[in-house]
């Protein structure tokens, strides 16, 4: 009632939604920077109103982030990169409107389900979070890494190589256990590891822009009359979310659950859900070529994980993601003290934030729906007009990631190589899985090994995860070996 009942609070929410979407839509800015920049704006404000503003802004960042991913193949964050895999082919097929409609609907539904999940899990929160130890983290990371094979399509060796390439690059840093330099060549900017945003922009944005310049034409290969950039396409996409209700529900819950586990990182949620969409689909061969399920799965997870990550942030003062860590600091500045005491004295704030999270996601859908068809028509703009702007934004995004000019060198070198990967049919999505899950797998392995030795593999949680890995890989192999109606499997290079 704090949200809907107060015109002032509702006004803050309505103001926060477009700002959050704007920060999400610009590569390199993102939700974290958005919160940091808006802290002075909310400082001194009524704590509830300020918290509503910040949480609403943070909740819809990924809704905006899907736009450049779908239209230009330029993901703003690692989490948005999963949307590129099928979103961009949909744009190329003239279905930009449908892709954005599906993304919008999935984001909205995911955000609401994430909030509902939060409400349902409140009574059993503590044992669930405590059940996750480094052993379970490690197995969950391995579970994600097995999706490399599923994202490889018909070129398994190439897919594994690109995935392992991502994993190897994720080890470029000071080793967290020994402090030894690994592949840093004495360069200070590599001590913290490769900047995720830079390498993702290099793997996706640079090759797409070079390819667009080489091929000519527009992002959409279909003619305007055949395309679905208008409202018709957007509503088709929105309906797709409900047509695939089972997938929407499952990936929303999975996203919220993964978001809830501190330390796993929200980026992992979208890729695990994307992998699940391929695995559970009756037509996995469509993925990477413009399957709407490939947009729905990561987008639901993207928004629902914010609901999940709010839980440990509020009740244990342990942020579920880096964005939540900044939000935690902002809450403290506003006078809201997250921690176990919240369950006793601050439940009204918790409920307000849960409602703000859900309402912001719904408002984002209605707010954005007015602009989506207009944005969809960008896919028909001549490539020659788009390329210079997108390239400038891509370089800017790479710099903003760590505010380091050396990232521009990484972007240029890796981007040039990634173009040839695209040209010669090497699937690029496994790279992102590798670079995101590599550090999680390594860190949790060493922690688990130090705590329990190799017996960590026999812990109940780890055994459940092992069974899940064997089951999912086995199920995928069984499905892949069944005779198919369509022969060729081809993934986005």
């Amino acid at each position: 009632m704090n949200v809907i009942g107060s015109p002032y609070n509702m006004g803050m929410l309505l103001l926060a939604v477009p700002i959050g979407m704007f920060f999400g839509a610009i590569p390199g800015l993102g939700g974290k920077l958005g919160i940091v920049m808006m802290i002075p704006f909310v400082f001194g404000m009524d704590p509830i109103a300020g918290a509503i503003f910040l949480i609403s802004m943070h909740a819809v960042v990924h809704t905006g982030g899907s736009v450049p991913s779908i239209l230009f193949g330029v993901p703003g964050t690692g989490a948005d990169a999963a949307t590129v895999v099928d979103g961009l082919p949909m744009t190329r097929n003239g279905e930009a409107g449908r892709a954005m409609g599906a993304s919008l609907g999935a984001s909205g539904v995911g955000g609401v389900i994430g909030g509902l999940f939060l409400i349902c899990i409140l009574p059993v929160l503590r044992p669930v979070i405590l059940a996750f130890s480094p052993a379970e983290f490690f197995m969950l990371a391995i579970f994600g890494i097995t999706f490399i094979a599923m994202l490889s399509g018909n070129s398994l060796v190439k897919g594994l190589l690109v995935g392992f390439f991502g994993l190897m690059l994720s080890f470029v840093s000071l080793d967290p256990n020994t402090g030894a330099e690994r592949y840093t060549f004495g360069l200070l900017f590599l001590w913290d590891g490769m900047d995720i945003i830079t390498v993702i922009l290099a793997m996706f944005a640079i090759p797409e822009m070079i390819a667009l310049g080489v091929e000519g034409g527009s992002m959409s290969l279909a003619g305007k009359q055949k395309g679905t950039a208008g409202y018709k396409g957007v509503f088709t996409g929105l309906l797709d979310v409900f047509r695939h209700w089972g997938l929407t529900l499952r990936t929303s819950i999975m996203g919220a659950f993964i978001g809830m586990i501190p330390g796993l990182g929200g980026d992992a949620a979208t890729w695990i859900c994307y992998g699940h969409a391929i695995q559970s689909s009756k037509n996995p061969e469509k993925f990477g070529k413009g399957a709407v399920e490939g947009v729905i799965a990561p987008e639901t997870a993207n928004n629902s994980k914010e609901g999940g990550s709010l839980l440990p942030t509020l009740f244990f003062a342990v942020p579920g993601s880096s964005g939540m860590a900044i939000l935690l600091g902002a809450f403290v500045m506003l006078g809201i003290q997250p921690g176990p005491a919240m369950a006793l004295t601050g439940m009204d704030i918790v409920w307000t934030l849960i409602w703000a999270l859900m309402i912001a996601n719904i408002v984002a859908v209605f707010f954005f729906i007015a602009f989506v068809p207009m944005l969809g028509y960008l896919s028909y703009v001549r490539g020659s007009l788009l390329i210079p702007f997108v390239l400038a934004l891509t370089f800017l995004g790479a710099f903003l990631g760590h505010r380091s000019w050396e990232n521009l060198i990484v972007l240029f070198v890796l981007g040039g190589f990634a173009y040839f990967l695209k040209k010669y049919g090497w699937p690029r999505p496994p790279f992102v899985i590798g670079i995101i899950l590599g550090p999680i797998a390594e860190d949790s392995y060493h922690k688990a090994f130090q705590l329990w030795g190799y017996e960590f593999l026999l812990r109940p949680g780890a055994l459940i995860m092992i069974a899940l890995i064997i089951g999912s890989v086995g199920f995928y192999i069984w499905k892949s070996t069944r005779p198919k109606k369509e022969g060729v499997v081809e993934y986005v290079g």
Binding site: L161, D175, T178, S384, P388, F412, K423
Partner: protein, 159 residues
């Protein structure tokens, strides 16, 4: 035959991948035991897969009969020209931003790309260039107060 194999893009790409894995794996042997565990866990199979892929690409290239029709040759030539042009522009973006920073280089590059490379009208190029300046300087630098990279040459000149 050997020259064609040597210049085959597929083979070069697979070779670079093999090279990256081999070098990273060899380097990993010098790390302390804990630090090398994961790099070796993925580096060794990566090297093996890289070699396998390279052999597959060589086999594929040797079996391939090149299409030498006039149309195919012309298409390949055009593609190569466009690729070279795009790589040159990405390189120019990289070098100019590195040298002169975002505020000065971005509008200039947008103008150059539109007017010189894509032969757009002068009006379109100028308007686009101004819009880029407004976004980079007005929105990012002034409104958001994000300190943008000034460029190595500008930094050196201004001390």
């Amino acid at each position: 035959m050997s020259a064609r194999l040597f210049l085959n893009g597929r083979i070069i790409t697979a070779f670079i991948m093999l090279l990256v894995f081999s070098v990273m794996t060899i380097m990993a042997f010098d790390f302390p035991a804990k630090a090398r565990l994961m790099p070796l866990m993925f580096g060794i199979p990566g090297t093996i897969f890289g070699l396998l892929q390279l052999l597959m690409e060589i086999k594929h290239a040797m079996a391939e009969v090149p299409d030498e029709s006039a149309e195919a040759v012309e298409k390949a030539k055009e593609e190569k020209k466009n690729e070279t042009q795009m790589f040159l522009w990405v390189f120019l973006y990289f070098i100019f931003i590195l040298g002169f920073g975002f505020i000065y280089a971005s509008p200039f590059l947008v103008f150059g790309f539109l007017f010189i490379a894509k032969k757009e009208s002068l009006k379109t190029a100028i308007i686009s260039s101004i819009c880029t300046f407004i976004v980079i300087y007005g929105v990012f630098q002034t409104w958001f107060q994000i300190p943008l990279f000034e460029g190595l040459i500008i930094e050196w000149l201004t001390g």
